[in-house]
Amino acid sequence: MERRYDIHRRDSASEWTALNNEFVACRSCDALLPRPTVSLGQQARCPRCHSVILTNKSQSAERVVALMLASALLFVLAVFYPFLKMQSSGLSNEISVADATLVLWNSGYPVLSVACMLLILAIPLARILLTFAVALALLSDKRVTPTVRHMYGAAIRLAPWSMADVFMLGVIVSLVKVGQLADISVGIAFWSLVALSLVSALASASMCADTLWQRARHS
């Protein structure tokens, strides 16, 4: 067991594999630790900063594929179906999700409009598609190609800019504000976006990235 390992010996492929099989570094504080074995459903935390360093989630790929199929369907419903409708003094106005970003463009804020379109629609969609592709690759027992794993790297880095859930909180707040002056009815797109926010949170919690990275290092 007590094999001394010289981590300063330069990179041959097997040295690199051995380094990654024997050690793990905390991504938040850089502590270098012997790689712990994590049993199914457990996670290992850094003894110094308490960040999670390794996870091992059960049936991760199956769950994520199912959740991403649901997300893709909900996304289509959210984009193409009516979102909100308001009626007041005999007048009525029905909007789609895209209208909430287009109104900014039409009011003279093109940059803000494009930013909102990215944050509410484009980035969440990109994350769904990237995660879907990665989970499918994990599910099939093929080797993890560079394209797939770089795609997931991109999906992780995009995560903070995916704001469909923040948008839904904003919409709920605005419904409370308008509720006093008009009749509001919510459409299929509204419930789809609520469900999409929940499904996305569930998918993020189900995805076992460490399994992907460890497999990628061995393929």
Binding site: D11, L19, D30, L91, P146, G170, K177, L181
Partner: protein, 199 residues
Amino acid sequence: MQTARSRGVIACRTCGTLYTGKQGSCDVCGSPLSSRLPHSLQRTWAFFFAGLAAYIPGNLLPIMVTATPQGESASTIMGGVITLIHHGSYGIALVIFIASIAVPVSKFAVIAWISLSIQWNLASDERSRHHAHELVELLGSWSMVDVFVVAALAALIQLGAVMSVTPGPGAEFFALSVALTMLSARSLDTRLIWDSPDD
């Protein structure tokens, strides 16, 4: 404590893969590799002050203009919170106050505190600074909520002469401020919190 850096190892921040003597991007996930983010503090401060500069007009200029037959009224973020309190919507007022005022202000304070403590080697508890940074990253995007409220209201309330809502210039500055402070927090490499000054 043995760190990756003290052993000449670089860990990828996205996927955790370890390398010795490698530069450029990670072979496994494609993210840029660095032992510590280059110019972390300079970048953090640059985004910090840009975010602060955008935060001021974001709060002083109206984020929303409401037009009714009685005339136009413009409201700022704080004005919106006060109106909500007058209407008795305390819960919603609290949500907007926390997301648009309390969180952004504490974000500026936390980022400045961590950056200064690193720069001046202030003796300060590493774990509490680390947790504060995690919280800032977690809450960052929720500050956008008021911008989305304006977008939703402006799209929805288009009833011609009866009532119409248009976004105001404050919304754009405020959104810019949120994005810049998110970039500021992400530029701050948490590994610097744990580095001891004599390394």
